[in-house]
Amino acid sequence: MFDVVIIGAGVIGSSVARALSKYQLKVLVLEKHNDVCEETSKANSGIVHSGYDAKTGTLKAKFNLLGNRMMADFCKKYRVPYRNNGSLVLAFEDEDIQKLDELKKQGMKNGVERLRILSKDEVHEMEPNLNDSVVGALYAPTGGIVDPFELTIAQAEIANMNGVEFRFNSLVKSISKSKDHFLINFNDEIIESKTVINCAGVFSDEINNMVSEYKLHITPRKGEYCLFDKEVGHYVDKTIFQLPTAYGKGVLVTPTAENNLLIGPTAYDVIDKRDSSTSPEGLKEVLAKASQSIKKVPTGFIITAFSGLRATESKGDFVIGEAKDVPGFFNAAGIESPGLTAAPAIGDYLSSVVAQKLNADIKSNYLDNREEIIRFEPLSIEDKASLIKKNHEFGKIICRCEMVTLAEIKDAIHRPLGATTIDGVKRRTRAGAGRCQGGFCGPRVLEILSKELNKDPREITKFDQQAILLVGLDKETL
């Protein structure tokens, strides 16, 4: 019997797991993919929102602010790439200034500090590459950018180091309540747990609806993005928003926490919750809208395009807390933007509610950190030299574009909840995330995975279990 089963190992499930791992509880995370951070958490803007645009009084507003305020210290402590770069909402016409003022007022009501309306001259001085048609902006100095992969992975790692069990490739088929506990059916196994926490992203309505009569309805809302080479990563310094619409915060232009340039997303409701394809129309729209914000979109430097699905709940707010009709069943559902910002705060909140319900005590031996992660590329020549002396595998560069060494890749594989796939290595080390997109390092990373995991190269996948890369031996079919 588990005390808690968490469904989903995205950023929310991982945050909840991290926060719960400090209690004396038996916790299991079920994830249908074979790694953490495989759906919405891996395909979003990576923004730490300041919190002006959620309606005052909503859970979105509350957890956005809480998350924003804890993010800097949190990321420093857990070695997650983060930068407090600030954000701008642009005005293109004089009447937009009025709308900025309303946003500012809402932000102040939400508790956002230091919001300021900038004049045309001020905003152009702050961001010289903005489009000339920009006439003013709302400046939010507390906005930031974060690496969404590491924010998820770091928290899952801490949870795992503190005894939380993760089972991957585990799709929950049904949940039923039996007197004082839950029966959870996944794959062909049934496990029991006193409580369940639903962190299933775009599928969180389906999980909720298995047990609760208070039905949720999530519409996946697709967002398409273009990612650019680091060479243009400093084209803008702040995160540049346009005025929000009913469908979201509009197309943004931002540096990422890893110094790429990112533009997007679109916002279209789709039917298929597994459809993360990009479209010609979507990419065209992203480029067109971004070109309203900045002088010139550096299209020659696009290195990839991707899309993600927002879990948009029909009532428009996060659904966080115990289901009214099912004691012991907790939701973190409908977590769309600003969900990434809010994640650590949602994890802290839900874990304290659940721990209280289970009368759990704090562990005495809780490890409140993760093992050191060494990034070779940013080090000085002297530090590089001494590092290679300590471990010669830092002297072997596997990914040339991002300068990722063998030592880093091996560490990513052997850490708690380490990488088992090419994409898993990429998200942990950035090998393959650069301008050649794994052209050179792909075969080498595959070889390292095969060796370190003691698997046949043909079993190594790009992601999950089915995304096989090598289909056989030469001449096998002749």
Partner: protein, 418 residues
Amino acid sequence: MINKDIVIIGGGPAGLAAAIGAYEAGNKDIVILERDNQLGGILNQCIHPGFGLHTFKEELTGPEYASRYVKKINDLGIESKLETMVIDIAPNLIVSAINETEGVIQYQAKAVILAMGCRERPRGALNIPGTRPAGIYSAGTAQRYVNIEGFMPGKSVVILGSGDIGLIMARRLTLEGANVKTVVEIMPYSGGLKRNIVQCLDDFNIPLKLSHTVTKIHGKTRVTGVTIARVDDDKKPIPGTEEFIECDTLLLSVGLIPENELSRKVGVKINPRTQGPIVTESLETSIKGIFAAGNVLHVHDLVDYVSGEAYLAGKNSVKYIDGLLNENHMINIVTQDGVRYSVPSSINPKNAEDLSLIRFRSTDVYKDAYVSVFLDQERIIHSKKKIITPGEMEQVTILKKWLQDRPINSIFIKIEKE
């Protein structure tokens, strides 16, 4: 810090020939820094024949071609360091590299030769819509899997782009047991050599679809197919011409990009057309003492040309060290009317060889047209060509004596119709 007259970055065909060029010009204080575990570069995975017809007057495979140079390097006793990655070049010619055994190595060079080669353009650069499953490879990556590792990247294959590596891989994959369904090319002409189209596609009945492109990739975990469509004159897909092709693999052979991250970092001026350094007749870049040759400079069709060019760069690096490169009297080479770029971009008559090669590519396909060279207003070359295509590099030869007779400001290269 190690003092070294000539530091060559890259031990592929360009680096090897540059080393021999320098050695034979009289300077033996050379080191080749190579990031892979053997010399020869990408030739090692090019196991097909077709190399060396110009250099050795015989047809060799890639590894055979490379081994002739490697043998010579060994015979001459030229130093090379393998599994050694250059991470920085400073403007004062300090080259920093790392490897597992020595950690960080720093050289104070008198001349540096850039010979880093090129890389393949990835999917993202084309922004092909659709999903992101396994089964999308650049042609060179697939070539490594098949030829070096012995694994098949797929069973039924569509190839986007008719560059030479794509064509070679169409044949290779067929011979290894895959079903290559079609090669799709967005341009109305192939980007590869004519001989490769005949020997790699026609001989195996693989259709080449010109003026077509891939408009969508299907499949959630592994590729299940691609949608292709005909394109109009602006290379935009024409609605209604879409066709679904079932396949488990999409190979991309959509162009090569000279790998100039190190060059850019040190401040070498780059030609936006070639994505390679702007060089003089001596293959010297905008930074004194830094030379460039091979695919890092501009993408070549034939390795033979790479070797020749790099040999010259090696030789000139020695002239530079010996103070024999004259730095004045540059004549600009201006490309116009159908000529996309030229290498070099300028000639100094004092430094020029008796016969100077200027290599260039056209912007489009021209039939029965003339390649013309003007010294200022005077047309000195007017040679008729049956066909000129961007896929085949062209060259003209300039005689040194033409440039010495009288002062010349510019050399113009253009394509003239009848």
